[in-house]
Amino acid sequence: MSTTPASAGPAGESTEEKVKLDAKAQVRRVIQGDLASVRVVFGLALIWIIFQVQEPRFLSDQNLTNLMLQITAIGLISVGIVYVLLLGEIDLSVGAVSGLCAAIMVVLNTQHGWDPYLSIAAAIAAGATIGCVQGFLFSRFDVPSFVVTLAGLLAWQGALLQVLGQTGTININDPKIVGLANIFYSDTVGWIMAAVVIVGYGLVAAYGFRKRVAAGLADSNPIPVIVRFVVIAVVTIVAVYVFNGDRGVPLAVLIFVAFVTGMEYVVKRTGFGRHVFAVGGGEEAARRAGIRVNGVKIAVFTIAGSMAAVGGIMAASRLLAVNQGSGGNELLLLAIAGPVIAGTSLFGGRGSVWTALLGAMVIGSISNGMDLLSLSSAIKYMVTGGVLLLAVLVDAIAKQQRQTRGRV
């Protein structure tokens, strides 16, 4: 890839050729770009094989459905964390915020008789406000996000206890809120959804590809597009098949996947998402390009707070209660570990929202499998810690390689 000096007469010779996309570089880009997720998918497959050999119930429809239900709350929180990581920042308050927001929802719903949807909206608004305030303090006063959100972690945990009051635990009775984690769709509805997803994705992919070819930007080789389509279709069909083998497609998983897809769209396809990447990759460059850097930061922390609330609501719905431990324990650390394990860089500017799903699956599988094998929490934590360390090392090594490879 070293520079081609165009030695002799650079004047006339076909200028288009110089800019034309080098096929080999293109292939390399595809491989390198997807390498992180391919690596994680292999890792996940390995984990599944190991557990399946040890415990044949692991890959049963029931257990896989349970696994997906177990990871939705953490995964939803991770969706917001991905945005924060893309800035190269960290939000340590998301666990506490998720607990607090769930408590706000429950108290409004059960003790003040609010409409369930209104309670949920209020809880998410509270999460957004908390994130917005933290983002403002962090960007306006240039305090490290680590410190601002650490203060938040303590403060919001206190607020959780305050909101719960003397009872300590409040049960959820409202069928609408309980339904979030406990509604399953019938087999027929599941297959209809699968068909909609596959056809919808196919149409979007075909339209985008045709547009690029028409503009003369892509070579007319449709194979990568087709491969991606087939992978999506197969994954969708297998997932629906597995869910139908148990109780059907769960609403919670649908919500999770919808958030992942939507937030991935925002970060990859919109101007706002582009600015998030720009601020994470080169803050000064972004500022000079006229991007309102502080605005982007505040928006990102607002998203993180909102997603923490959504995750907290989902966790409460699954647990059928909110208690003093809600949003505590390892929830925060696992929500950050997930995307990092799956390839979102801690250094900012690199990653995708899909890593929230993939990372949650890796962490969830380890936890679920060890539970099935009745291993102790001690071993579970140590193994999860080892996987996280491995993932961070891979990220750091990848960064080093980029730096030696770049800037010839």
């Binding site: 520079t3 800019v19 880009r29 930007l217 080169g282 972004a286 770049g406």
Partner: protein, 269 residues
């Protein structure tokens, strides 16, 4: 010499930082299709002059004319609005984004949808325009979708220059465009500067490297301690004269415009 009305003309520009007279009644002009090399020792006022034109530090006194009209440039946006683009030495590129994203950074094209968050980027048009622009400039990069961090120093410089051209400027100022570049990369960047000139742009090149300046510049403007100490046609002057004007040694300081008719030892370049 320079065309009838210069594109950009500064008269009597002065700028003081505390007790330091950074610029002292400097007259400076760039014409369309002209490359002016701005040279001088460290602290001579080159950067201050460029920053005054770019709207970062407005001058204390003096007038700036753009296309014959008197203008005031108080903010960077004013300069950009007039059509003056500046490429700083640190380039200000985002290494983790590809060439297309960097070119359109902060002015992305959106195709459809309502609201800031849902408005989809028009990648097709952006990539198309990037391809056109780079091929017009004959810029060589492996792929429009390469991450800028993987490009060489020369390629990054070219991307930064190309980015400044998206706003269709009339004057481009380049701060040390060849610093820290290897020989072939320097050559690419100098060729790019010639193509800017061919497009009718006025180009100001700040450089420490006199050899590079002699290769591309039509005119060489020398600053010394905030005062103009030489304004030469590069074809009519030797490196020795320019160095003399930069250092203040020899007789360089009394040759304001034009060049010594009987300059000895012509031919070095």
């Amino acid at each position: 010499m320079s065309p009838e009305t210069p594109l950009l003309q500064l008269e009597g520009i002065s700028k003081q930082f505390g007790p330091v007279q950074a610029l002292d009644r400097v007259d400076f002009a760039v014409g369309a299709g002209e490359v002016v090399g701005l040279v001088g020792d460290n602290g001579a006022g080159k950067s201050t002059l460029v920053k005054a034109i770019a709207g970062i530090n407005s001058p204390d006194s003096g007038t700036i004319r753009f296309e014959g009209n008197e203008v005031s440039i108080n903010r960077p946006q004013d300069a950009v609005a007039l059509g003056i683009a500046t490429v700083y030495q640190d380039l200000a590129l985002c290494d983790n984004l590809d060439v297309v994203a960097n070119l359109f950074l902060g002015r992305e094209l959106g195709s459809s949808g309502v609201g800031v968050v849902s408005r989809q980027l028009d990648e097709v048009t952006m990539e198309h325009r990037t391809g056109e622009l780079l091929s017009n400039l004959a810029v060589t990069i492996p792929s429009l979708r390469s991450e800028v961090g993987t490009l060489s120093g020369g390629q990054r410089q070219q991307v930064a220059v190309a980015r400044s051209l998206l706003g269709e400027p009339k004057v481009v100022m380049l701060d040390e465009p060849t610093a820290a570049l290897g020989v072939p990369q320097t050559k690419q960047v100098l060729e790019l500067i010639r193509r800017l000139k061919d497009r009718g742009l006025g180009v100001v090149v700040i450089s420490h490297n006199l050899a590079d300046v002699f290769q591309v510049a039509d005119r060489i403007f020398v600053l010394r301690l905030g005062r103009p100490s030489g304004d030469f046609r590069s074809s009519e002057v030797t490196e020795e004269h320019v160095v003399a004007a930069i250092t203040g040694l020899g007789d360089g300081n009394n040759k304001q415009t034009g060049a010594p008719k009987e300059a000895p030892g012509e031919g070095a370049a």
